[in-house]
């Protein structure tokens, strides 16, 4: 069975590496597409060779276009507006959390410092969004 892609929007290479490792440890089979900034993310979602990910994992602090702006653009676009979006970031500033939900984020998760906890978070995240959650059938590319 072909698995749907996950879009990871993250500028920190260390975090990308750790995330990939966490996915590997948790045996999540989905292909991870990485966008290193907001512009890249929007290009990947709305450009000519747009992907239809089953999940977008979005950091807030990004160069060029920040995470909240990316979120807003995704929700404004008719094609992408139903994508499940998880904010995975270091900040738990109340403002950011409130703003994210206002703009239509599906979930807000804070990256833990401890790797064990981080792995656990990714495991639960994968379990919920990739297996438990019933995806929108209109995206046939999904799992």
């Amino acid at each position: 069975m072909k698995t749907a892609k996950i879009l990871l929007v993250e500028d920190n290479e260390d975090d990308v590496a750790l995330m990939l490792r966490a996915f590997k440890i948790n045996k999540i089979p989905n292909e991870i597409v990485v966008a290193k900034n907001g512009v890249e993310a929007l290009e990947l979602l709305m450009g000519e060779k747009a992907i239809q990910p089953c999940l977008v994992i979005l950091d807030l602090k990004l160069p060029k276009i920040n995470g909240l702006q990316v979120l807003e653009s995704i929700r404004e676009n008719a094609v992408t507006r139903d994508y499940p979006i998880i904010i995975l970031t270091t900040s738990v500033e109340q403002e950011d959390v409130v703003k994210s939900y206002e703009l239509g984020a599906n979930s807000y998760i804070r990256k833990p410092v401890e790797f064990e906890k981080f792995i656990k978070s990714v495991e639960q995240l994968g379990l919920y969004w990739l297996f438990l959650n019933e995806p929108n059938p209109k995206y046939h590319e999904r799992r």
């Binding site: 260390d14 602090k61 900040s91 500033e93 833990p112 410092v113 790797f115 981080f118």
Partner: protein, 430 residues
């Protein structure tokens, strides 16, 4: 005053002496009083005091028959005396009217002198009335007594006037008063301007403070984000090393990596706690009625759920309600209960109590655990201050957080302890 009485005494005794000597006022003028009767009465008069038989007129003839009066002189005398009396009656009447109208409500300066003048003028007037009456009714005894009284009042008024002269001289003229008012107004205006200036300065300071606060928020945000990211890398990659390359590392190498991981995770906790602390100082507090008893019960229940090895007995007083910010109060209660559980965990029978003191709105949470040395009681609430380093886990920020929460409620917090017997934390919330 003594002088005055001495004078009066001399006066009285002088008049008495004159009476004793049998001198009659009109005898020199050849008045038509029968000598034998007069003499007998004079003799008896010698034993009389000045103020008795005031209305006895038997010793003198009426003034019309004393000497030779032409009607012109007589009536001039009489009418003038009556006019003087009327005037001398009217003046004090007006003065009394003025006094009643104005003096009682607003106060008249030297009001005693004022009343003395009233009495003095009234008495003078009466002597004139008697003088007029004597033309028909020779009440010389009464006249003498009245004159003595008038003299006394007049003399008293003189002394009283002399006495108040310095005070009268101090009395401000309207022009002077106006000048004073102007000066005061100027002073007041200057003071007002100074105050306005101070307010402006304070406003500026507030703005600076607000700006500093904003910067602090930005700083804590960047601390939250920027410091945690590298920490996560340090922790994550040392774990990755341990997992993937453990065969290439000896025990010491693995131990070092574990230490790195532990230290970075601890630093993450510290940063988180510090951020919590700064958030508490930053956010507005919104008070509402909160059942502190229920809150303590909830926190205790959560602890029992999370810590299966919790042995403590809890004694929670019911029906304690406070007005406080619910979220912040919860954090404070969590910290205090957490501390009580932590520091009594090595006691045989841990007992943790919550309640309200009888006297005021003082609440307490106590335990029978390790306690602390009272000489460190001031250090207890400082950030990163730890009295039991190594023995118990913690970042040393819990009580600093509690104190800040209590302070934000304009309350106070203090602690008492006997080392080895437990500690009690008292707090108020307004």
């Amino acid at each position: 005053m003594k002088l005055l009485f001495a004078f009066l005494f001399v006066l009285v005794s002088g008049v008495s002496q004159a009476a004793n000597d049998g001198i009659t006022l009109c005898s020199a003028n050849g008045c038509s009083v029968k000598p034998a009767v007069a003499l007998a009465q004079v003799e008896s008069a010698s034993t009389l005091s000045l103020f008795s038989d005031l209305f006895d007129t038997s010793l003198w003839p009426a003034r019309w028959y004393c000497g030779t009066w032409t009607p012109l002189h007589g009536w001039t005398y009489i009418i003038s005396d009556i006019i003087i009396w009327l005037s001398y009656f009217a003046i004090p009447a007006i003065l009394v009217f003025f006094y009643l109208r104005k003096g009682i409500a607003e106060g008249i300066p030297f009001h005693k002198i004022f009343l003395l003048f009233v009495a003095f003028i009234l008495a003078c007037g009466l002597t004139h009335l008697i003088d007029a009456a004597i033309f028909w009714w020779p009440a010389y005894r009464l006249s003498a007594a009245l004159r003595l009284v008038t003299a006394a009042i007049s003399l008293f008024t003189v002394f009283a006037l002399i006495k108040v002269i310095p005070a009268v001289l101090q009395l401000k003229s309207p022009a002077h008063l106006e000048k004073l008012v102007q000066e005061r107004t100027l002073e007041l205006r200057l003071l007002n301007e100074k105050l306005q200036q101070e307010i402006n300065e304070k406003k500026k300071k507030d703005e600076t403070l607000f700006q500093t606060n904003q910067e602090l928020m930005a700083f804590s945000y960047s601390v939250s984000h920027d410091l945690r990211s590298p920490l996560r890398s340090i922790h994550g990659f040392s774990k990755a090393l341990l997992e993937d390359y453990s065969d290439k590392l000896d025990n010491t190498g693995q131990d070092f990596l574990n230490r790195i991981a532990r230290a970075s995770s601890r630093m993450g906790e510290l940063i988180d706690d510090l951020l919590k602390l700064s958030r508490i100082s930053r956010n507005e507090i919104t008070r509402e009625d909160v059942s502190l008893s229920t809150m303590v019960e909830e926190v205790v229940a959560a602890n029992i759920n999370q810590k299966p090895d919790l042995r403590a007995t809890f004694d929670i007083q019911n029906h304690i309600t406070v007005s406080a910010d619910k979220k912040l109060l919860k954090i404070a209660v969590e910290n205090l209960i957490d501390n009580a559980i932590k520091y009594s965990s090595k006691t045989t029978n841990p007992v943790i109590q919550f309640g309200k003191m009888a006297e005021q709105n003082v609440f307490f949470i106590s335990d029978n655990g390790t306690g602390f040395d009272m000489k460190f009681k001031d250090k207890l609430f400082g950030a990163f201050q730890r009295l039991h380093e190594g023995e118990y886990e913690g970042s040393g920020i819990g009580l600093a957080t509690v104190k800040r929460i209590v302070t934000r409620h304009s309350g106070e917090i203090w602690a008492e302890s006997v080392e080895g017997k437990g500690a009690t934390f008292y707090f108020t919330l307004s």
